[in-house]
């Protein structure tokens, strides 16, 4: 952990819909260090994907960055034009999309799809780019003999490996993985997570993983941010957040994952079915004053409903956005 590779300051991304403005990302700040792994976790609709896509301005038509800075090696990407970003996109920052199964062109050979991406960004010959793809295939654990096959001949895990190869094609410094293992089987998920970890170490890559699965993020990321309704509610070192979750939302989320519970309760031999979080996740169109979580929080008081909580440092690399964190037993 030295200099931040990516520094996001007070990022705001809003969607303009017929029903009004949805503040999908509402003022978040975080940094990702060179060669380090960072994770975003939260339930559907909390803004984690929007936060990551804003970094490379890959937003839908109605989405717009309304404020804040995205500093990549000191340069503000948020202020650049779409064309400038497009040129930078795959070379500096690449992305592994959600649902990799459907992100490949079914009527194009795998080799063609990857060489095309390389040749868009770099001026190299076809044989040279093929050679690079062969190397990429070996790197992600695929047999280079399968280079000229079509996507339907690959299994889900293999397609995901192709997507990772594609993301690595132009030697990026930062790779964003949007739910990279969600549609995969448990066994394949473990293999893909291992592969990402290996690549991160050997290529000195920085990674941002996005997942709804807290146990995946705890497992795969050194640092993480828990998001709720467009805001970061807790952020810091994974191990630290796991052992001492401070925000009421994080605490309840941890209890909702049986694999995390199994780890904890294995020692005690107890088996208790925890309680889920009362109430519904807020609609992004709703305006909630103060802490966004206060309507569902049993510890909330008047201050929580009026004032936005500020970042409080409660440990080494551990920040929480809650007024009452130290009052909760």
């Amino acid at each position: 952990m030295s200099t931040p590779l990516l520094e996001v300051r007070d990022l705001k991304t809003h969607f303009h819909t017929k029903e009004g403005i949805a503040k999908a990302v509402d003022g978040i700040s975080f940094e990702v260090y060179e060669g380090a792994s960072f994770g975003f976790v939260g339930e559907s609709g909390c803004g984690k994907t929007t936060a990551a896509l804003s970094i490379i301005k890959l937003l839908p038509e109605n989405g717009k960055i309304e404020g804040g800075q995205v500093l990549f090696r000191g340069e503000d990407l948020a202020a650049k034009s779409d064309e400038e970003i497009r040129l930078r996109r795959w070379k500096d920052i690449s992305i592994i999309f959600q649902g990799a199964m459907n992100s490949l062109n079914p009527v194009m050979k795998i080799s063609k799809q990857i060489t095309e991406a390389i040749r868009l960004h770099e001026d190299i010959s076809i044989p040279e780019s093929r050679k690079r793809v062969k190397g990429l295939f070996t790197q992600v654990g695929l047999n280079p003999a399968l280079l000229d096959q079509y996507p339907h001949e690959f299994s889900g895990g293999m397609k995901q490996r192709v997507m990772i190869a594609l993301a690595l094609a132009c030697n990026p410094l930062l790779v964003i993985g949007d739910e990279p293992t969600t549609a995969l089987d448990v066994m394949v998920q473990a293999q893909i997570l291992d592969l990402l970890e290996d690549l991160r170490r050997s290529l000195h890559l920085a990674t941002i993983l996005i997942s709804h699965d807290l146990s995946v993020i705890f497992d795969a990321c050194e640092r993480l941010a828990v998001m709720y309704s467009g805001k970061i509610v807790e952020m810091g070192n994974s191990r630290e957040v796991y052992t001492r979750p401070a925000h009421p939302y994080t605490r309840k989320l941890v209890a909702a994952f049986p694999d995390l519970e199994l780890e904890k309760q294995r020692k005690t031999g107890k088996r208790t079915l925890g309680k889920s979080i009362a109430g519904d996740p807020p609609n992004p169109l709703d305006r909630i004053s103060g802490c966004k979580f206060h309507p569902r929080c049993e510890w909330a008081d008047k201050r929580c409903s009026e004032e936005d909580p500020v970042s409080m440092e409660i440990g080494a690399d551990h920040h929480v956005f809650c007024w009452k964190w130290d009052k909760i037993g």
Binding site: E43, S44, D185, V186, M187, Q189, A190, Q191, L193, D194, E197, H212, D213, L214, S215, V216, F218, D219, A220, S238, R239, Y242, K252, L253, A255, A256, F257, P258, D259, L260, E261, L262, E263, R266, G269, R271, L273, G274, K275, S276, I277, D280, P281
Partner: protein, 328 residues
């Protein structure tokens, strides 16, 4: 209550265009292979395995929801499910219900909640008065935590959240007070915060109405949390069976161990136990062999030539492996 004996289900794949010309027969896939299992009254038994291990096929066979030819017998309250008469089958359908994985697809988008939940009443109890039906629908909705009932009565599925939809699906399955419920990955499509609600709902119903439940999941930790016993399947074969605590903490079969190691872990990421993938080709002359032979780290020569029996290694703990020793 339910006894499955030597169940085998074989799917025949369509031969495709080339098969049409070459008069080739379609390949066959053994989805379930010689599976024996019994469910006690009022217990939740989890079937765990990776995709393609035959867990859903087993669940569907149990409810006679597959068209393929089935070998072996499934007895429900002493009667063979596959040789029921038409009349008896109707009675069986009343007592055995299924909860599907995807609540977004399982509900008819053009029907209101009350109609979806009351649908099976129309089929099985057309003679009931409307007042009685209404009371039963309201009761089922309340069981499933959809309170106050009036708020949901005339809603359409698209107006509900994922968790609420799954509750509606469960209410529809439970309105006739079935004795057996097959729940096929009922929470895998739901957000974490609602997942626990649905699980405690199932758990509560087990205790209140005494439903017997076959819970199908790929998540061993989830199975551990909810069930009395866990059965681990691999490639259509039952490889390990025992109480939930026993399997979660002291699994013996190499595949069950690999499943546990594959679970994401918050504490051991630095020295992660790798899920080591061995690729081994079986002897082409061998007719039977351990289904896990190809991927097993502990396999010996014998595993490639014989199918290990499902043997009781510890009391009430069954493992299909030559190389497993009892817990001391």
């Amino acid at each position: 209550m339910v006894t499955i004996q030597n169940l085998s289900v074989v799917y025949t794949l369509k031969a495709g265009l080339s098969g049409l010309f070459k008069k080739r027969k379609g390949r066959t896939v053994k989805a379930v292979n010689d599976l024996s299992l019994s469910l006690e009254k009022g217990e939740i038994l989890s079937l765990v395995g990776e995709s393609g291990s035959g867990k859903t096929t087993t669940g569907r066979a149990l409810l006679r929801l597959i068209k393929e030819e089935v070998k072996g017998t499934i007895r429900f309250e002493g009667k063979d499910v596959f040789s029921l008469s038409k009349q008896e089958l109707k009675g069986f359908r009343k007592k055995a219900q299924m909860i599907f994985q995807d609540p977004y697809q399982a509900l008819n988008p053009r029907n209101t909640v009350s109609r979806i939940v009351g649908e099976s009443l129309e089929i099985h109890h057309p003679d009931f008065s409307w007042e009685k039906k209404q009371a039963m629908i309201a009761e089922a909705l309340e069981w499933c935590g959809l309170k106050p009932v009036e708020r949901y009565w005339n809603r359409y599925p698209h107006e509900l959240s994922g968790g609420q939809r799954q509750r509606v699906a469960i209410a529809g399955a439970l309105i006739l007070k079935p004795q057996l419920v097959v729940a096929d990955e009922p929470v895998s499509m739901l957000d974490a915060s609602v997942r626990l609600d649905i699980l405690s709902l199932l758990n509560g119903l087990k205790e209140e109405i005494g439903v017997t439940c076959l819970f199908i999941t790929h998540d061993l930790a989830l199975a551990w949390l909810i069930s009395n016993r866990i059965a681990v399947m691999f490639a259509g074969t039952l490889v390990e069976l025992g109480s939930a605590g026993l399997i979660a903490e002291g699994a013996l079969h190499p595949y069950s161990k690999a499943l546990i190691a594959a679970q994401p872990s918050a504490t051991s990421s630095k020295e992660r136990k790798r899920v080591i993938q061995v690729e081994r080709k079986e002897d082409p002359a061998a007719v039977v062999f351990c289904p896990y032979y190809r991927r097993c780290m502990q396999a010996t020569e014998r595993c490639g030539k014989e199918l290990p029996p499902l043997s009781e290694i510890n009391p009430n703990h069954f493992v299909r492996c030559f190389n497993c020793r009892p817990n001391s």
